[in-house]
Amino acid sequence: MEQPVISLRGATASLGSRPVLRGVDLTVRRGEVVALLGANGSGKSTAVCSIVGQVPLTGGELELFGTPRRRFRQWSRVGYVPQRTTAAGGVPATVREVVSAGRLARTKLGPSRRADREAVHKALELVGMADRAKDSVDALSGGQHQRVLIARALAVEPELLIMDEPMAGVDLASQEVLASALREEVARGATVLLVLHELGPLEPLIDRAVVLRDGCVVHDGPPPKAVGQHALPGHDHVHPHADPAAEPIRTGLLS
């Protein structure tokens, strides 16, 4: 059988002295769309960060495209959307400038060519932001920021898309745009790992859901139907790290 695109086995990781992942198994095969679900603080972002190499694993194994993570160098195959509420930095930047950063996965230290500019334009069109290309990202709404961050990942023209809460703080119109952009990527054959709070408009795209609770996988299979109602109330998804102590720990999705 073909190598899985992501293969995480028995992964453990700690932040500070706190064990956050406690033996996570996660396999994503080529062409699959997998949703990673769970309450705030259950370790979803940490799992995703460890997959893209931002958080070191303290145990377990990780392979990307069949290559052990430590030896993996083909970052142009991966598009990453970090968990963010803004695309802005300390200096003004246009939508196009931010999205162009995605092409560095292909150009690295080399110059930007016409194909790179075309890929950026295509990514902007996919998320419906082509007409805002010259606007400052400071002038965008939350949903538009998220669209820019997704366009930046799409500009890589990746085989694997990893998105951490791309729908957080996103208005309904933007959610629809993102869902259709994602649909096109999936039709193109992309593999997708998505961190979500609720399936929402993406539900028809999702092949499989993996649910985390307290750093452990408690469900791996068809997307749970009731997830929207359970995950929704009383959570500030926009600032999920703000105050973990205030988070009720037992808001597991399947409990």
């Binding site: 893209v52 190499g53 931002q54 160098r73 083909q74 970052w75 142009s76 991966v78 990453y80 970090p82 963010r84 695309a87 930095g89 300390g90 200096v91 003004p92 930047a93 246009t94 400038e97 931010v98 162009s100 950063a101 995605g102 560095l104 996965a105 150009t107 690295k108 230290l109 930007s112 007409d131 805002r132 290309a133 010259k134 606007d135 400052s136 400071d138 002038a139 930046r152 890589v156």
Partner: protein
């Protein structure tokens, strides 16, 4: 103009020009990363290098460059690894650097308080032939780095986490930013002085971004403002006999205030237009980014 015929003024103006270009060129990345005061820290550390240069009786510029580079690399390592105690460690480095410089200067045979003052606050008309060669070489390095790698440096300063997932050598590029900032400090130290170096890295950028929307325009305009204030400040300090560093920094603040005042009505106009565009999207009219907005402004 007769001041262009004076050799020391030629050197002064060349040094001023190079500082006007390089300080905002690296400063913009520091501001983007919200590390605007890093230049100030390096300036403090540089004083140890100057003191060492006097003590060893070698060119303070090169020794200061070496010490700054080491200091900046340490600062970068503290930034990327250090967590809770990072700011304490930085404070040690800054004040240690400053105190060390004063101490070394006092110990060296030809170091005096007058010398100390020229390095702290700049003394552009005393730039020597040797200094100018060093300044040219160092400035060339800064310009090549900040312009040649602008896309990569933009990416790591905008979103370091994302940049790492593109496979860029982020750690190396971060060190390069630190080294370039250190080099810029020594380029600028004779012109504006170590205590005011950071002002020239930050204020032109802050002034520029009052009225710009893109990184590229902000960069170009910050450099233009930098050159404008360093050259006019140098000329002013020649005619009026006031310290060059202070003149340049005050002029920069003047530009900042002027652009801030200019920006308020501009922002209102833009907001009105955006509101209009927002309202019209249903009817598919009035595309934003129409011509005539401030991003077309060039100095």
């Amino acid at each position: 103009m007769d001041i262009l015929e004076l050799a020391f003024m030629q050197r002064a103006l060349l040094a001023a020009l190079l500082v006007g270009v390089t300080a905002p060129a690296i400063g913009i990345y520091l501001v983007q990363r919200r590390q605007a005061l890093m230049g100030d820290g390096i300036g403090h550390v540089a004083l140890t290098g100057v003191g060492l240069g006097f003590l060893l009786n070698t060119s303070p510029v090169w020794v200061a460059t070496a010490v700054c580079v080491v200091g900046a690399v340490v600062m970068e390592l503290i930034r990327s690894y250090g967590k809770a105690r990072g700011d304490i460690a930085l404070a040690m480095l800054f004040y240690g650097g400053m105190a060390g410089g004063v101490m070394l200067m006092a110990l060296s045979p030809n170091g005096s308080n007058a010398n100390l003052t020229t390095y702290l606050f700049g003394s552009i008309t005393t730039v020597s032939e040797q200094d100018i060669v060093a300044i040219c070489l160092l400035a060339a390095f800064v310009i090549v780095t900040t312009v040649g790698l602008r896309r990569q440096l933009f990416a790591i300063c905008q979103d370091e986490e994302f940049a790492r997932v593109t496979g860029l050598p982020v750690r190396l590029l971060n060190l390069l930013v630190a080294v370039t900032a250190a080099v810029t400090v020594t380029v600028a130290m004779r012109v504006v002085g170590l205590l005011l170096v950071s002002a020239l890295m930050v204020i032109p950028v802050a002034a520029s971004q009052q009225i710009t929307r893109s990184f590229a325009t902000t960069f170009a305009m910050a450099v233009a403002i930098g050159v404008l204030v360093t050259l006019s400040g140098t000329v002013t300090s020649y005619y009026v006999d006031v310290p060059s560093g202070a003149t340049i920094v005050l002029l920069a603040i003047g530009v900042f205030i002027a652009l801030t005042l200019l920006a308020a009505p501009l922002a209102r106009k833009r907001a009105d237009k955006a509101a209009l565009a927002e309202r019209c999207t249903l009817e598919d009219a009035a595309a934003p980014g129409a011509p005539g907005t401030a991003d077309d402004v060039r100095v």
